[in-house]
Amino acid sequence: MTFDAIVVGSGMSGGWAAKELAEKGLKTLVIERGGHLEHGADYTDSLSPWELENYGLVKEAEAAEHYGIQSQCYAFSTATKHLWVKDSEHPYTTPEGRPFMWIRGYHLGGRSIMWARQSYRLSDMDFQSNARDGHGSDWPVRYEDMAPWYDHVEQFAGISGSREGLPQLPDGQFLPPMDLTGAEKDFKQKLEAAYPTRRLIIGRCAHLTEAKPHHEELGRIACQYRSLCERGCSYGSYFSSLSATLPAAQRTGNLTIVTDSIVHSVIYDPKTGKASGVRVIDAKTKQGRTYEGKVVFLCASAIPTAQIMLNSKSEAFPNGIANRSDAVGRYLMDHLSGMGASGTYPGFEQNYHSGRRPNGFYIPRYRNVTEPTEGLLRGYGFQGGVMRDNWRRGLGQAGVGPEFKASLRKPGPWRIHLSGFGEMLPRPDNRVTLHPTRTDKWGMPIVHIDVSLGDNERRMVEQVGADAKEMLERAGATGVSVRKHYGGAGLGIHEMGTAHMGKDPTKSVLNKYNQAHDVPNLFITDGACMASGGCQNPSLSYMAMSARGAHYAVQFLREGVI
C-alpha cells in the first residue's frame, strides 16, 4: 500500500507528526506496534480506590515474572497494568553492573497516556550548551528557530503555566496557571529571600485549566482535579495522542492507523537514494508486509528508533540506514532523577487544600545560569510540592486503638519535597546497539543498552541532594531526609539523543530540519533527535520538533526536493 507519509509510532511525537502531515493534506499512515487503545473506554479513571483490583497492588509473582522493570515506575498498578510492556516479552540486555531501566508502553498513544505532563521549553542556553562546552554536536537550531513551534504546540495541546520572564525557561502560550498552596507561597518567599538567584514557580503542565473552543471541538473539557491522570483521562483534560493529536488528524480524512504492526526496518532504494517505505511484522501473525511512502517519519521513541535504523541494513548502509556518521544509537541521554529531599514544613494548621492538583511547583535551573559553578557543567531543576499529609503518616508509626484512629482522622503536618532532574552530557559511549545474536519473538534483533555516568553526572547527583537539603533547611523545614541515591539510568524516563541533530553530517544524523543527512526523505522527530537534553522535561520539545519537521517535510515534497 502506498501513502504520502508514513509515521512510525503513535506516541507523543508520532501523534504530532501525523496531525501536522494530515492537516497539510498528506495521506498519512501511522504504524503502531502495540494494540488499539480506545480513548475513554480503555481508561480506569472512573474507579474509586476501593474498586481497584487488589487495591492497586499487582500480584507479586506476576510483577516479578513479567514486569521486573516496569514495576519500578511509580505509575504501575492494577489500574494501569495494561499500559506497560511485559518485560518478559520485550527483552533487552545491559552490561554487567550497568542496569538501564527502560520504562515503556506499547499501545496506541504510547507514553503520552501515562506521562506526568510537565511541559517546559528549552532555552537558548540549552541550544548553545554543546557549542559552549564542547560536549556533543552543536545544535543546528537555536531557540529562535523553535520558538514559533513551541507557540504552535502549546496553543493546541493546552499548557497551563505562569509567565515569569526567565531566560533559562522561556514563557509560552499559557492557559491560566494552577495555584500554589499558601505553604508553597511561604516556601517560595523564604527560598527567594535566602537565594536571590533562585526562583520558584508553579509547574507548567499539559492540562486544560480552561478549555478553549479548539479544545472543546475535540471533546476535551477543563481539568476536574482528580489526579487520576496516568490511568487515562476520559475528559481529555490533559494532552495525549488519544485526546488531541490523533482525533485532529482523523478528522482531516487523511489518516490511516494500523496497530499491532511492528516496524522492522526502513527500506532504502539505492536508485533514488531515498527511503521507499518500511517493512512491518504483524504482531499477531508474525507475517511480514511492507508499506510505501514518499516520506518516512520515525517517532518510535529514542531507543526503538535507533533499533529500527540499525536494523535497516543495505549495501549503501551496511551499519544501518542514514548512519554514515556512526552516530546512530550513540549519545543516549536520560535525566538524572531520584535525588531530592523531603521534610516537615511547620505551621499553617488552620489551612488545607481541596481537590487534587495534578501538578506541583518547579525551581528552574540556577546552576551555571545565575550561579556559575566551579567544576560542574550544565545544571538541574527541581519539581516539588508542599501539601498536608494524610493517614499515610501512620504507616511507620507505632500506635493502635481509638487515639491512633482519632489522630489519623486529622490532616497531618505540611510536608515538603523536592525532586531533582539533572542534565546528562551527550557522550558517544552511552549507546544502543543491536544484540549480535539474540532476537525477540518476532525475529527482531533485541537492543543492548550501555549507559554509564561520567564524572560530571556523579558530581551532579551529589550536588542535587546537597542543594535540596540546604534549601529545605534554610526555609525552616524539620526532619529533613535526603535522597542522594540515584535511582538509575532510565528511570528519568527521558531517553533521547540516539539520532541527534548536528551541523556536521560526518558526526551527526539529522540536519536542522530533522531530516537525515544521508537520506533526504527520512525524518526523525522523537527524542532521538536531541543533541543535548537540558534539564527540562523534554516532551514539549519533541512535540515542537515533530510539528516543525512535518512542516519542512511537506514544503520539501511540494518543492520536489525530496
Partner: protein, 186 residues
C-alpha cells in the same frame, strides 16, 4: 465469578453510552463499575489465623463513631490479598505472623488473643505493635500498612472516617479549616 475482561467490557459499554448522551461520569453508582463479587472462596488463613487477623485489625482501627476495620471489610480484604496478590513467601510470613501474635498473647495473658478480656487484648496488641514497629519488623510493618491502606481506602474508611471525592471539580489551594476537619483519604 466474573472475569476481569467482562467487567472491563461492561464498563466500557456503560461509559461509551454515557459519553454518547453527552453526560458526565460523575454521580454514577460505583457498583456499576465494580468488579463482580466472588461467589465462593476458600480463605487463605486458617480459621484460627483469620480470627487473629480480624481481631488485630479491629484493635488497630476500632469502631468508634465510624466503622472500624472489621466493618470496613479489612480482614477479608487482606485475606483476599494474600490469595490474589501476595507471593508465596509473603503468604508464609503472614501466616507465621498470625501464629506468632497468638502465641505471644498466650504467653503474656494465658489465653489466645480472642480469649483475652477486651482491655487486655488492646494492651497486648499495643505493646506488640510498639515492639515490632520499633524494631522495624518488615512483616508486621507490612501488615500494618495493609490494614491502614485497605481501611482508609475502603469505601467506609474513605467516605465516613475521612473525606473522599472522585471528581473534586476544582482545585482550592488554600482553605481554612476548623479543629474537627477531617483529612482527605487521597
Amino acid at each position: 465469578m466474573q472475569s476481569t475482561e467482562l467487567a472491563i467490557d461492561r464498563r466500557a459499554l456503560l461509559r461509551s453510552a454515557i459519553l454518547l448522551v453527552g453526560g458526565s461520569m460523575a454521580g454514577l453508582p460505583g457498583e456499576a463499575f465494580a468488579q463482580g463479587k466472588k461467589l465462593t472462596k476458600a480463605r487463605f488463613f486458617t480459621p484460627a489465623q483469620y480470627s487473629v487477623l480480624d481481631e488485630t485489625a479491629e484493635i488497630i482501627i476500632p469502631k468508634t463513631d465510624t466503622p472500624g476495620a472489621r466493618a470496613a471489610g479489612v480482614p477479608s480484604i487482606i485475606d483476599d490479598l494474600m490469595a490474589n496478590w501476595a507471593s508465596a513467601e509473603r503468604g508464609a510470613n503472614f501466616r507465621a505472623l498470625m501464629d506468632d501474635i497468638d502465641r505471644r498473647a498466650l504467653a503474656a495473658g494465658g489465653a489466645s488473643l480472642r480469649a483475652l478480656p477486651p482491655a487486655r487484648r488492646l494492651e497486648f496488641v499495643r505493646a506488640y505493635d510498639a515492639e515490632k514497629i520499633g524494631a522495624k519488623d518488615p512483616v508486621y510493618s507490612r501488615l500494618k500498612e495493609l490494614v491502614l491502606t485497605t481501611y482508609y481506602l475502603s469505601e467506609a474508611g474513605a467516605t465516613q472516617e475521612l473525606r473522599y471525592e472522585l471528581v473534586p471539580g476544582k482545585w482550592e489551594a488554600w482553605t481554612t479549616i476548623g479543629p474537627d476537619a477531617r483529612a482527605w483519604a487521597v
